[in-house]
Amino acid sequence: MSPYQSDTGADSPTNKPLMAVAAVLLMIPVVGLLWVGSYAAVEPVVAGFPFFIWYQFMWVFLCSACTAAALRLIRMARPRQTGGRR
């Protein structure tokens, strides 16, 4: 038994399903952008921008949304450790 056992939040066990959903959310942008064949195209052009360009810009926002959602889920899954104080 470690002397640290007390401050790990043993009273509020980690919610595994929520953690799994968070992990999937984090995987989505990685898969989306590494699958280059899915977006290496000129069409459809939007406002002069080839698909290849605007699609990757779009992922900046999608990725932020995914990581923000994952952070919320992790805080719910591990309420004591992640605290959310600041």
Binding site: V45, F52, L71, G83, R86
Partner: protein, 546 residues
């Protein structure tokens, strides 16, 4: 175009430079704590930075002046695979670091680790593996600092300073800038770049947003910009008989594009300067909150990359003071051609100050690594906190001096080659650090063997890449991946080999029962947060290892 000095731009550049110099010196009073002697203070800003300071600091640290010069230069010269991969790279970076950097923060907070090699030392009880990680970190960081100087040089050259006359006068502005940087970094530590980062990031956002709104309309609109880029990239280079570059990657470049993005994203937070900025934050989730807001910089980097193509449509001629074409001058030249002197000055200041922030953090990080993992580990094991801090401060000066000599005496292609190698090398510390955050299964000697193989393979493969036009070695970052048979980022191939050797080596070493060091961490250390008790060093030997 380069006839003489652009005095308006130079005046604005100098004024903004003086502003950050004053801020840099003043920073030593900022958020000052009582415990000045500890390396935590000088080297990690007291580990007190909250979400917003960390956002500016990491943004200022990761998106370096060299990035701002090199990415559009690559877009201008060879197109999307060499240049635009920076966008997916700096997007997938954040979900990736979201996963493991919080664990590194926690265990480092718990055990007062200042560097990643400190963690490796504590986790595996192996001073040899820790040495390998620290030496790799220092080697990879040095050329990166040198390249920040190349960023400043590009700006000075377009303003009209340097390039002609005697050697001393040429390099004087750079020498002054770097001496001032060294002085305030010495006195204020990490607080100096943290404070200057506010100015740097504000200028960068301002300049790029103005440029991206204003410039395309001046050169015929976005549709024309992309058409001009397509024409240039698909035209045939007479020297090679192949297309000049890549407009949109074709099937044979998919692997290169994806592996460059993934390998670079995995490597970035293995650099000492990224870890220093992360560990300076106040709580476990600061880095995760930052992972949700740092992509703002990636958006700006993407816009900047597109300016490389805007320059194609604008017909920008990036010719240096020596009369040769130098793609790295393309963005400063574009600004000088299209903006009034004062705004060009603001843009140049953004690049120059953009070089100071990462150069300061990198030199601090390299100095911390030297102090903790070479000086204290191998030279003076009983070093006091005060001794550690003074060694670190001196080493930060030496590191900068070395970078300066490197840039001023060698061809800058050397710095670029070494930085390319640095990216390959630093990824080879990933197994020891990141695998170690999750499992103690790997044997420390197995990890060391994997590291050695990855370093050797990566270096040799990069050396053997010969540029077909110039005949020089280190001709690029992508090479044929064995087994898969596609072009891919050398660093990632070396990493795969590294991980494989580490795993096989672990099995073998366990079979023959080779002993290894003690793990001073417990599973709870990896989840510790701000306010949790920290481990007193004197207790170390009484703790049970789980």
């Amino acid at each position: 175009m380069n006839a003489g000095v652009n005095y308006t731009a130079l005046a604005v550049l100098v004024a903004l430079f003086l502003l950050v110099t004053v801020m840099g010196f003043w920073a030593s009073n900022w958020r000052r704590s009582e415990n000045q002697e500890s390396l935590d203070e000088w080297g990690l800003g007291g580990r007190t930075f909250g979400v917003w300071i960390t956002w500016f600091l990491l943004g200022g640290d990761l998106y370096t002046a060299y990035t701002f010069v090199a990415v559009p230069a690559a877009m201008f010269a060879t197109g999307a695979v060499a240049g635009f991969f920076a966008v997916p790279y700096t997007i997938i970076l954040y979900p990736i670091i979201f996963i493991y950097m919080a664990r590194l923060w926690s265990v480092s907070y718990r055990h007062s680790y200042v560097t990643s090699a400190d963690f490796v030392r504590g986790r595996y009880g192996s001073r040899e593996l820790a040495l390998a990680v620290s030496v790799t970190g220092i080697l990879a960081t040095m050329p990166y600092i040198a390249l920040q100087l190349v960023g400043i040089q590009a700006v000075l050259e377009v303003v009209g300073l340097g390039g002609t006359g005697n050697v001393f006068m040429n390099d004087l502005p750079l020498l002054i800038a770097f001496t001032l940087l060294a002085a305030y970094t010495y006195s204020a530590g990490l607080r100096a770049p943290a404070m200057i980062a506010f100015v740097k990031d504000t200028l960068i956002y301002l300049v790029i947003l103005v440029a991206i709104v204003y410039l395309p309309s001046k050169v015929g609109g976005w549709a024309h910009v992309f058409e001009a880029a397509r024409l240039k990239m698909t035209s045939v280079n007479p020297a090679t008989g192949a297309p000049v570059g890549v407009f949109i990657p074709a099937a044979q470049s998919y692997w290169a594009y994806a592996t460059l993005a993934l390998g670079s994203a995995m490597a970035l937070f293995m650099y000492p300067h990224s870890i220093t900025a992360t560990l300076s934050s106040r709580s476990r989730n600061t880095i995760r909150q930052n992972a949700t807001i740092l992509p703002a910089y990636s958006f700006v980097l993407g816009l900047l990359a597109l300016l490389g193509w805007v320059a194609i449509a604008a017909g920008t001629k990036p010719i240096g003071l020596d009369g040769k074409v130098n793609a790295q001058l393309v963005i400063p030249q574009l600004f000088e051609d299209y903006f009034p002197g004062w705004f060009a000055g603001v843009a140049f200041a953004a690049v120059a100050i953009g070089a100071l922030v990462p150069a300061a953090i990198m030199s601090i990080a390299a100095a911390n690594t030297f102090t903790r993992n070479i000086y204290r580990e191998w030279i003076n094991p009983h070093a006091t906190h005060a001794q550690e801090t003074s060694v670190s401060k001196i080493v930060s000066l030496l590191v900068k001096g070395f970078a300066l000599v490197f840039v001023l005496t060698l061809d800058k292609q050397n710095a670029i080659n070494f930085q390319l190698l640095g990216g390959i090398w630093i990824l080879q510390t990933f197994p020891a650090i990141v695998f170690g955050l999750y499992t103690r299964w790997f044997h420390s000697w197995g990890l060391l063997a994997g590291w050695a193989v990855g370093m050797t393979y990566g270096t040799v493969t990069a050396y053997n890449l010969v540029n077909p036009v110039t005949g020089n070695h280190f001709g690029g970052s992508v090479a044929m991946i064995p087994v898969i048979g596609q072009l891919g980022y050398i660093a990632l191939t070396a990493f795969a080999l590294n991980a494989l050797i580490a795993a096989v080596g672990t099995v073998v070493l366990n079979v023959v029962k080779v002993p290894q060091g003690r793990d001073e961490t417990t599973p709870q250390c990896y989840l510790a947060d701000e306010g949790d008790p920290r481990v007193e060093k004197r207790l170390e030997h009484t703790l049970p290892s789980i």
